[in-house]
Symmetry: C2
Subunit: 390 residues, 2 copies
């Protein structure tokens, strides 16, 4: 069908790199100042999306600050200087213009001091340290945050969510944005979707939707921050299962079954952890679509496939080092953390896929065990229908 009118309007602004720095920042009615904390591959794409929107929406200041962990490039230049001169993150998103209104800053306190919209997009293991550095540095009132960080930690007493960490350490409300978001595909403006999870304030959620959404990046909001955030982590465990199926050459039927069972266990686990989690969240981009993307491509799937092809004889650590050149797998550690929760509460039988993935990862079961468990309908109906396990 023909694009709707609003889409056509939006498209006038896409790839609009012609405004120069002098024109930027003149929006006197703007209420919101955005800072992106993080500048890796996904952080840079997020800055590009946001910068295209702040230029055209009156309620946002045009300028988008981006905190960059300073690095010296091989030619001796500072990364922040190169970003500000070329509008390109030459190290983590080469070849893509971020927009002239993105301003890189190596000083985190300076980057956040005027912002009332903070976008967090760093590796999750850095967030505790970053929160400490930000204490007392952000504005005292009216600050909203959003986390794009996938892969929080699951501890025995339950998941330790990054959005909760940010809320508690900084005293701000924190939404999340998750979805089927391979950064390099969004960078070249291929169509995709994402989901904002929010706690209570629908108006704030709508503001994030406006800030991120473009015709090629469709964002919708659901009132279920825990459900959305848990999707972003748990999908990596499912991807390990899907990779095993690929490595065993089991075919598309089996892979679809494992993805489905995985999504079901994601839903059941999330609902047991947080009874407020909604079934409908798993139909959103953060649920089914991200499971699909992660199980079709992605590093967890890839290393897991190699693990199965080697009959489990080479460890995940070894294969990770060989195949990922320093990038890290999250699925294996998340599977272990989820298993700790399950065994702590006696729930292993309710989650045959999660349990089996962990046992395969640590060598207790062979890769073929991924298709050797059976579905226990009575147990599963407990998960679906009963509150006694909450």
């Amino acid at each position: 069908m023909a694009p709707a009118a609003e889409v056509s309007t939006n498209q006038q602004f896409l790839g609009d790199e012609t405004r120069n720095r002098q024109e930027i920042g003149n929006n006197v009615n703007a209420s919101y100042k955005v800072t992106v904390v993080g500048s890796g591959n996904w952080g840079s794409v997020a800055a590009k999306l946001i910068a295209s929107n702040t230029l055209k929406l009156n309620s946002f200041h045009d300028e988008v600050k981006m905190w960059v962990y300073e690095e010296t490039l091989p030619n001796g230049d500072k990364l922040t200087d190169v970003i500000n001169q070329t509008n390109e993150n030459v190290k983590y998103l080469p070849g893509i213009k971020l927009g002239k209104n993105v301003v890189a800053d190596p000083d985190i306190a300076n980057a956040v001091k005027d912002a009332n919209m903070l976008v967090f997009v760093t590796p999750h293991q850095f967030m505790e340290g970053i929160c400490k550095r930000l204490e007392g540095k952000i504005k005292e009132e009216g600050v909203q945050a959003i986390s794009l960080i996938k892969g929080m930690e699951v501890k025995k007493e339950g998941p330790c969510m990054i959005s909760t960490l940010i809320s508690e350490k900084l005293g701000v409300n924190c939404c999340v944005l998750m979805g089927a978001n391979i950064a390099n595909e969004i960078a070249v403006e291929k169509f995709s979707e994402a989901t904002v999870g929010y706690r209570e304030d629908e108006e704030v959620a709508e503001r994030w939707v406006k800030l991120f959404g473009t015709p090629y990046f469709q964002v919708s909001a659901v009132q279920d921050v825990e459900g959305v955030e848990l999707c972003g982590t748990l999908k990596n465990v499912v991807a390990i299962g899907a990779g095993l199926v690929d490595g065993l050459d089991m075919g598309n039927n089996t892979k679809a079954a494992i993805m489905r069972i995985g999504l079901r266990e994601m839903k059941a686990f999330s609902k047991l952890m947080f009874p407020s989690v909604k079934d409908s969240t798993f139909f959103e981009s953060c649920g089914i679509a991200d499971v699909i993307t992660t199980c079709l491509g992605g590093r967890n799937r890839r290393v897991s496939e190699a693990f199965a092809r080697n009959g489990g004889k080479r460890s995940f650590d070894e294969l990770e080092a060989e195949l990922l050149q320093g990038q890290k797998l999250q699925g294996v550690s998340t599977a272990r953390e989820v298993y700790e929760v399950l065994s702590h509460r006696g729930w292993q039988e309710l989650f045959p896929l999660f349990t089996t993935v962990h046992k395969i990862c640590i060598g207790l079961l062979p890769p073929s065990a991924i298709v050797e468990y059976s579905e226990h309908t009575p147990n599963f109906s407990l998960v679906e229908g009963s509150a006694e396990y909450y």
Copy 2:
């Protein structure tokens, strides 16, 4: 995890081809006699699954009748004779033993006359004729039916479901079985799942689950015959969309988004047609898993990919003839039929994916239009929350 006890027990019976014909049929307590109407690729696999279970479950007669549309093979043999001599459907499932207790019969009236469980698995366009031939030929009482037929017809006034056709023409209750079921993968006993949809009688549903289920073919039942059956048809429209994305080289993000939007429109369309349809059905194998399988492989996806690679310059008919050697695409005709319902009721804007797929198929829009529509949240929330369109 280690297979549960029930699974181990089941596995003793798998591939048990050692019992000879004399031992078969001696089960004096058996209440249920099964006939499979149809003997193509999927019908033969269904007969194999069923035959492995009737041997081990006391409530079923060992013998499974299979109506075979008689054909003369190139060497002059009759297909039914070869099946009964070799236990193999050499034409449609070569290399796979069906079980000695499967008895092929070219006479449809004779095949069904003693049966009280009828399994229908033929191309959907033959079902009206088959029902006519069966009128007055089946037992007068106690007959249950199940349809494995994907691809019923969607007419302006609503979908004409195969299970309804069977129920009305034969005066029997009819369940359905759908799922991520590539027949050749199940034939070699690769792990997969399926969903039985039933109307009211849970005991009957459980009987079908027992008759089909094996450790490698996990069947569950949901009380939603329309939802399950519509999944089996509508997924082919989504597969056309996914194939276009492949042909445009849009990547996994976009493909996941199209699959997700497709599943959402399947759900919304089914609920508008039949308000009793349940959201949870789309989490079952017939929903998400079948969408995944069909969008990863499958002939609809394949022809649609070729269509997009040719920039829409060669018609679906032409590509179908070239690529499928006589097999038929269902997605294109289903998209047309769905579109007729949508335009008849003024619902096109509620279903941008279904509408766009149809317009691309008939050349009204270019293949790239598949990613050029936008999501209308207010409209969609009408579909989700309001009864006024029912």
